[in-house]
């Protein structure tokens, strides 16, 4: 009950100016955690899809879901952690890649299913997708000093099977 579990909450909301601020504002005003947040329009241009990762015990998550539903711009939402779902995050990593390091870096990128998008004499830029923890694992696997820059999109997700979040 008091465990702070990680929740991936996905929201369909009106594609209106200010809608994103309302969500962000709610979290800061009520002292909830946001670990990541990603938002983009959907196939229906009047709707945006916002996915966020938060932590909290059962009671806090229940309040977060209720408070989000109370926002006038929120049309529908789903807590993907409560259902079978796919979670994906995109990461771009710029690494040092010279000498012996170069082959090792390429090998690790391959193991994690990454692609090298840009190559210079001394660097690689690697693209990886996966769950948050897979991306964490990649960063742990490579030498810390080799990392030049890390960009992560934040997690997004979709339910498995026939379940679909649509209006």
């Amino acid at each position: 009950m008091n465990n702070n579990n990680r929740h991936l909450i996905s929201i369909l909301m009106e594609n209106e100016a200010g809608a994103l601020s309302r969500v962000a504002n709610l979290f800061s005003a009520r002292g909830y955690n946001i670990e990541s947040l990603t938002v983009a329009p959907t196939d229906d241009p009047s709707l945006s899809r916002l996915t966020l990762v938060t932590y909290g015990n059962e009671q806090i998550i229940e309040q977060i879901v209720k408070q989000l539903n109370k926002l006038i711009d929120v049309v529908k939402l789903i807590d993907l952690s409560e259902t079978d779902a796919i979670e994906r995050e995109l990461m771009l990593v710029k690494t040092k890649a010279s000498g012996e390091q170069r082959a090792e870096m390429k090998r690790l990128a391959d193991i994690f299913g990454g692609h090298v998008l840009d190559v210079t004499e001394a660097t690689y830029t690697i693209e990886l997708t996966g769950t948050g923890s897979k991306l964490d694992n990649f960063l742990r696997a490579i030498e810390k000093e080799a990392i030049l820059e890390v960009v992560r999109s934040g997690a997004t997700g979709i339910a498995l099977g026939q379940k679909a979040l649509r209006v």
Binding site: A17, Q63, Q67, I72, V74
Partner: protein, 581 residues
């Protein structure tokens, strides 16, 4: 169809919504709207002297009448001044539509003269807000605003209007109905939940009905009275809920909470079934959450799902509007001829009557100095319990809530959630405009009244004769009380030296002023004031400087840990309690 200006569209929309009275203050960004108002005569516009007062007056109007209050302010300082009022309405779920002027669309973001991000500033304290960017959306946006403000759990909605939108032209078409895919409040309670709730309620040995402002907002008072009398259970109201159940009825055990009666708080603490209706388990009611109703199973009826299990986990939640859900409960009880446990109830009432016999609202009367409680009791007698009473915030607010017995909903108007000093006077003006034929009293203090004094001028201009009952103790009394109890009488910044001569001040504004210093003069002064039907009278009662509000549950205490007047040694609360302050 003819093309008309945005300003004219706005005025036409207000007419369609049946708006009769609005409150505001002009300025550059809303000049076009004021010009459109000048050209019509079906909406009365009240020119306040400060935008905060416009919102409080609209709140007073809305709280007294149940209609949606309407406010119009200009951009920049106009809207920032209104923010306190908007936040006040948000905390107490009062339906308002606030129009704010904005700089022309092309200048937004340029730090233009009198520009602020009104939708950004108000976002945390409105139910919803809009910035109108296209005149074609104006009428529909206004329709949405009134719909959102007045349905579900009501609240303030702000519409920010760039000046070019009010000048531009469009066809006028006002939608008859509006449907929002993302907003559809649940009104009808779940039948299965209602059934479960009735079973639990009837199994109770020590039940208490605890109701809040939601009963009043939803016009659920008739159903509440019917159900309560059908069951024969004790009922307590929150500060916001007073009047929903007649205070003079035997089943009413008084207000609960930090300054609630002994019997109400003891009954809450010892109950086995708590029936919470349109109340939100506010910290002034629950005290320390771990000690709240330790033995109770809880039913909670509320239209806002996020109110349920927010502070206290409940056993049977019912989302829906109060009258609809209570009607459902009444039908189940009547149709199946269900009866409460008469024997247990009898025992419970005997226990409650013992607590009642403590007379927790008693105070020591004096022949020398006016006791503030006595003023409220006399106010109650002189007005025969029928006046609309507004209040400011502090000790006088608690005394008004404790000693004036409210028998009908919308009779008691105060700032409950936000606790806004300055609320009372403009709210009284709004209430008087809604009900010109009723007596309106504003119970206030020497601190609060000075926060909105300028409205005495508005009250002169619009003939809103209210009676101002100033309980003048020369202190910020509630803060002083806490300093006495918990800060070893270090009265830091609570003594108001150099108070104005309120009598002369009232007279300067064209009203009647009276100063009352002797207990023997209290009743006569009130009778004289209320006899002056067409005048605003400022009654400056010089009251006991050291009087405190009792009973009192110190922060961090449980509901059974009350301090009663002159019976308990005041003890310092522990550190945890001080944080809760």
């Amino acid at each position: 169809m003819d093309l008309i200006t945005g300003a004219e569209i706005l005025v036409r929309c207000l007419k369609e919504e049946g708006v009769e009275c609005m409150f505001g203050y002009p300025g550059g960004a809303v000049l076009h709207i004021y010009d459109a108002l000048y050209a019509q005569d079906h909406i009365k516009h009240v020119l306040v002297r400060h935008e905060q007062a416009a919102v409080h007056a609209a709140e007073g109007y809305a709280r007294a009448s149940g209609k949606t209050g309407v406010v119009l302010v200009t951009s920049g300082p106009g809207v920032t001044n209104a923010v306190t009022g908007i936040a006040d309405a948000y905390m107490d779920s009062i339906p308002l539509v606030v129009f704010s002027g904005q700089v022309p669309t092309a200048l937004i973001g340029n730090d233009a003269f009198q520009e602020v991000d009104a939708v950004g500033i108000t976002r945390p304290c409105v139910k919803h807000n809009f910035l109108v960017r296209d005149i074609k959306n104006l009428a529909e946006t206004i329709k949405k605003a009134f719909y959102i403000a007045s349905t579900g759990r009501p609240g303030p909605v702000l519409i920010d209007l760039p000046k070019d939108i009010t000048i531009g032209k469009a066809e006028f078409h006002y939608p008859k109905k509006i449907k929002l895919r993302s907003y559809n409040p649940t009104v009808k309670g779940h039948a299965g939940q209602i059934r479960k709730a009735v079973d639990l309620i009837l199994s109770a040995k020590r039940p208490v009905i605890y109701t809040g402002g939601g009963v009043i907002l939803s016009e659920g008072s008739p159903e509440l009275v019917e159900l309560t009398q059908l069951l024969g259970y004790p009922i307590t109201n929150t500060l916001m809920g007073l009047g929903a159940y007649p205070a003079t009825d035997r089943q009413f055990i008084g207000m609960l909470g930090m300054h609630g009666t002994y019997e109400a708080n003891m009954a809450m603490h010892h109950c086995d079934v708590l029936i919470a209706i349109g109340a939100r388990f506010d910290d002034r009611v629950t005290g320390k959450i771990d000690k709240f109703c330790p033995e109770a199973k809880i039913v909670h009826v509320d239209i806002d799902p996020s109110s349920i299990s927010k502070n206290v986990q409940v056993d049977i939640p019912i989302v829906g509007s109060v009258p609809s859900v209570l009607r459902g409960m009444i039908n189940v009880v009547r149709d199946e001829k269900l009866k409460p446990d008469a024997e247990a109830l009898d025992r419970w009432w005997r226990q409650i009557d013992e607590w009642r016999a403590m007379k927790s609202l008693s105070y020591r009367q004096s022949d020398e100095v006016i006791k503030p409680q006595y003023v409220i009791q006399k106010l109650y007698e002189v007005t025969e319990g029928k006046a609309i009473v507004t209040s400011d915030v502090g000790q006088h607010q608690m005394w008004a809530a404790q000693y004036y017995l409210f028998d009908r909903p919308r009779q008691w108007i105060n700032s409950g959630g936000l606790g806004t000093m300055g609320f009372g006077l403009p709210a009284a003006m709004g209430a008087k405009l809604a009900f010109p034929d009723q007596d309106v009293a504003c119970v206030t203090g020497d601190g609060s009244i000075q926060m909105m004094l300028q409205e005495l001028s508005t009250m002169k201009q619009y003939y809103t004769p209210v009676k101002i009952v100033n309980l003048n103790n020369g202190y910020l009394g509630m803060v002083r009380q806490w300093q006495e109890f918990f800060y070893q009488k270090r009265y830091s910044m609570t003594y108001l030296e150099a108070l104005p001569n309120f009598v002369m001040l009232a007279e300067a504004y064209g009203h009647v002023g009276m100063r009352i210093e002797k207990p023997g003069d209290v009743e006569g002064a009130l009778r004289e004031a209320f006899a002056m039907k067409d005048r605003t009278v400022f009654l400056d009662f010089i009251t006991d400087q050291g009087e405190n509000v009792f009973p009192m549950i110190p922060s961090g205490g449980g509901q059974n840990e009350m301090l009663l007047a002159e019976r308990d040694e005041m003890v310092s609360t522990h550190d945890e309690g001080m944080v809760l302050l």
